[in-house]
């Protein structure tokens, strides 16, 4: 059983139980331990919740539309039942007194969190190799990276441990690992889903969303997650409604800047095959230009480190987290942060401090913020003419473990095609489109205008299993 609705139906009609679902998922997680996708299990709490749900069903009480469905959250979501580490050392022992709004909403509908997924520490990275607890291995080829930063979340779904996981996407962290492991990844419109209780990385681009095996499951989870939250002032009033009925013919722009130099031929081929399928399904596709697309990575690696340096200032070893030995307060801050952060965390904090320093603020941070305005304008102009934009998710398939770890800039390049949507705030999804001749998964990216999340999913759904 891989489809969420089938699980809910089975739990409701008595042919399965929530307890059975949770036990199965926990067993699968334990069987697949060697992938290092799951950092911790919340077994005790999950089984208790499952019993409660089963009892409610017996009593004929209301249990919600995800009753008995097990899921795993990226370990930067505050959750009960296990520590929330953000895959860092500094939060290695952190047990939260509150849960993230997203977790609360899912639990209200009867879903059951069974564990926490690995990530690059503080979601800084594109391979999950920056985790303080070791890298996650790719679901298809264990010598390759899971992608990142939501690597554990993508692998857990690809391995069939749970039907859905939660991830966060600041510059591609849901879509890229989804693409690397052959699963669906949704980066919603900025502000669609509350981030309250999710470890903040870059507040102007952070979004959270689901990773699933198929589009219908993603629609179900998004339907539960979306909506305004008084604890996250950036949330939009709920606009997400899964589409029903036939998808009308779309005008789709193929972004030429994403289809050129630096993209592996096999990735291009799978993308072009998907484009051909869209054409034969009656959609209109033509090449378009997003001239600033090649500049997005440079904007991103100014704006995001700036926000990172500010958001990570709170980890000081004083009020929570791990504290290093020190004889005075300055040493306490300095050593706790040096020992508690991974190298990539420090790199981004220092870059952020640099671009925000007086003397450099205008040349770097403000320059990037202005370029961001031009990028938003270019997207707006394209979406006046086109319903959707298409391109690859990443220039390569999953690379080998260790291949990029010594060259931060090379690792950053894996975000080159996913950062535009984050900077502009528009929704984008990663859809499994095929495999290379070596059997490695390739995803295509569908990008839509603000609040078109449900339309993007409907289009992708109409193409699932489509044969010419």
């Amino acid at each position: 059983m891989t489809n969420i609705q089938q699980i809910v139906d089975a739990v409701m009609n008595g042919s399965s139980t929530a307890k059975q679902q949770v036990q199965d998922a926990i067993k699968k997680a334990e069987d697949k331990k060697d992938y290092n996708a799951v950092l911790s299990l919340t077994s005790e709490r999950a089984l208790k919740r499952a019993d409660e749900i089963d009892q409610k069903i017996k009593n004929g009480e209301k249990v919600g539309k995800l009753a008995g469905v097990p899921f795993i959250a990226k370990d930067n979501f505050l959750t009960f039942g296990a520590p929330t580490t953000a895959a860092s050392k500094i939060l290695g022992n952190f047990k939260t007194p509150i849960q993230a709004t997203a977790i609360e909403k899912l639990e209200l509908e009867g879903a059951i969190c069974i564990g926490k997924a690995n990530l690059d520490a503080f979601a800084h990275g594109g391979s999950t190799e920056n985790s303080a607890y070791g890298p996650t291995k790719n679901a298809v080829d264990q010598t390759r990276v899971a992608g990142g930063s939501s690597g554990g979340s993508a692998v857990a779904v690809a391995l069939g441990i749970v039907p859905f996981t939660l991830g966060s996407d600041t510059g591609g962290s849901i879509r890229q690992p989804a693409s690397f492991n052959g699963v669906v990844g949704v980066k919603p419109t900025y502000g669609t889903v509350s981030r309250f209780g999710v470890v903040a990385m870059a507040s102007s681009t952070d979004v959270i969303g689901p990773i699933t095996k198929n589009i219908a499951d993603a629609e179900l989870v998004m339907d539960v997650l979306a909506g305004k939250d008084e604890y996250d002032a950036t949330t939009l009033p709920n606009f997400f409604k899964p589409r029903i009925g036939e998808v009308k013919k779309q005008k789709i722009g193929i972004v030429k800047e994403l289809m050129g130099e630096g993209v592996e031929p096999e990735v291009l081929k799978v993308t072009n095959d998907y484009i051909d399928k869209l054409r034969s399904a009656g959609h209109m596709l033509e090449e378009v230009s997003l001239p600033l697309a090649p500049m997005c990575l440079a904007m991103y690696y100014i704006i995001v480190p700036a926000e990172v340096s500010s958001n990570l200032a709170r980890y000081d070893g004083v009020r929570y987290g791990v504290r290093s030995d020190a004889s005075d307060l300055a040493e306490l801050y300095g050593r706790s942060r040096d020992e508690g952060f991974e190298a990539e965390n420090k790199r981004r904090i220092l870059i952020g401090s640099y671009v925000l320093s007086s003397g450099y603020y205008d040349a770097y941070y403000n320059k990037a913020a202005k370029a961001r305005t031009l990028l938003v304008q270019q997207f707006d102009a394209l979406f006046k003419k086109y319903d959707v934009l298409i391109g690859p998710v990443t220039p390569t398939v999953a690379f080998k473990l260790g291949e990029n770890t010594d060259e931060p800039l090379k690792m950053y390049m894996t975000d080159v095609m996913t950062t535009p949507a984050n900077l502009a705030g528009v929704p984008a999804i990663s859809v499994p489109a095929g495999n290379t001749s070596d059997g490695l998964p390739v995803g295509v990216q569908l990008i839509g205008p603000m609040k078109s999340d449900a339309d993007l999913l409907a289009l992708a759904k109409s193409m699932e299993g489509y044969h010419e």
């Binding site: 102007s204 950036t234 300095g334 202005k370």
Partner: protein, 96 residues
């Protein structure tokens, strides 16, 4: 070409409250130079007269009533996650 000196790395580390080891300073120096050189390509974009963007979904001035929201978190729960405490206070090394 952006050039970052060792002293600059140490200054940034001190602004960021991170005590880097000598080894870390050396490797950060090379990484920061590479990254800053890469992002410097933005210089080629003409942004004269363009307003900066800091927020992308159009929301602004989200107000709420000036009332205390009860998160359901107790003082005891917050003290439970403190690394070092004395009675019901957070303990830090002597400051003055």
């Amino acid at each position: 070409m952006a050039r970052i000196s060792k002293d600059e790395v140490m200054h940034l580390a001190s602004l960021s409250n991170i005590s880097l080891t000598d080894e870390e300073v050396a490797s950060m120096q090379a990484d920061l130079e590479n990254i800053l050189n890469y992002v410097s390509q933005l210089e080629s974009i003409d942004t004269d007269g363009v307003e900066p963007t800091y927020q992308v979904n159009g929301l602004q001035n989200i107000d709420r009533a000036d009332e205390i929201i009860d998160y359901g978190v107790t003082r005891e729960q917050l003290l439970e996650v403190v690394p070092e405490k004395l009675d019901d206070q957070i303990k830090v090394p002597e400051v003055i």
